[in-house]
């Protein structure tokens, strides 16, 4: 259900974006920090970047959940694949491409009704870039945010209105 699809693209200008063909991919593919070749290589799995980005995006209040219908399905699927990584709840709605020194991140989010989507996307992007760059040392070249849906407070919240005490009178006798 894509009631609102506002795809805001590119917080950081992707200046001189290199071809991310090498070592690129989503969960399970390695990303490398190509420094310190004499002392050894450092490899950070793409699922690490996925998890950090997912946690950082959820930290922003106004993000109700992550993932569209499709990516939630794939997240559930991925959990059943050996080596696909557990904790799909953290990585639903997050796709990453990890290169030698850079990462590109795509997010699918569901926003709360009442949040300014532009402001929210900006806050999510800033938090994700800060978290991933600080935690992994990779440079984040872009964060693409797709707002898939909007969540109304009375849809499934705990304060859902109780069932009316008096049942509606039957229209037929």
């Amino acid at each position: 259900m894509s009631s609102t699809t506002g795809s805001t693209t590119g917080g950081v200008p992707a200046a001189a974006t290199p071809s991310t063909s090498a070592a690129a991919g989503t969960a399970g593919s390695p990303g490398r920090l190509a420094e310190e070749t004499a002392q050894g290589r450092t490899t950070i799995a793409a699922s690490v970047v996925q998890k950090i980005a997912g946690i950082a995006a959820r930290e922003i209040s106004g993000v109700h959940s992550m993932g569209g219908g499709l990516s939630r399905t794939f997240g559930a699927l991925r959990e059943r694949i050996p080596g696909g990584g557990t904790g799909a709840s953290n990585i639903a709605g997050v796709q990453v491409e990890v290169g030698e020194k850079q990462a590109a991140i795509d997010l699918d989010i569901v926003v709360e009704y009442g949040a300014s989507i532009v402001d929210l996307a900006r806050a999510v992007r800033r938090n994700v870039i800060t978290a991933v760059e600080r935690m992994t040392g990779l440079e984040v070249i872009e964060v693409n945010i797709a707002v898939n849906d909007i969540h109304l407070p009375d849809e499934d919240g705990p304060e859902a209105p109780p069932v009316p005490a008096t049942p509606a009178p039957s229209r037929v006798e």
Partner: protein, 116 residues
């Protein structure tokens, strides 16, 4: 680092793998050792498999794969791990793979099987 008998090389490599595993697992940010992205980072010892460390007997790089807690930035932890391993690995390069992260502190599931 090629010795006269291949068996002796292998024994030395196995011993190094055990010491590397102990030192890596002792780091507070390491939740556990891991088999790496394809589960191939392991040392086959008599009786069991030491997951997360691979040392070849020809002097190649020492491979270590870990699951870290997200308490500290990964590059800092990796640099500390590399220093710990390099202290016992001689001049060998140390390849570090961070195959997953766990949120929260390194809890009670800090288990490393370093068998006999």
């Amino acid at each position: 680092m090629t010795g006269p008998a291949p068996g002796a090389d292998r024994d030395a490599a196995d011993e190094l793998a055990r010491r590397v595993a102990e030192r890596v697992a002792a780091h507070p940010a390491v939740v556990r050792l891991d088999g790496g992205i394809f589960g191939a980072v392991a040392t086959y010892l008599p009786g069991h498999r030491l997951v997360g460390v691979r040392v070849d007997e020809h002097g190649g790089p020492v491979e270590v794969a870990v699951v870290l807690s997200l308490a500290a930035p990964i590059p800092e932890v990796v640099a500390q791990l590399r220093a710990r391993v390099a202290a016992v690995a001689g001049g060998r390069p140390v390849d570090v793979t961070v195959s997953d992260v766990v949120t929260g502190p390194a809890g009670p599931d800090v288990t490393v099987e370093i068998g006999p």
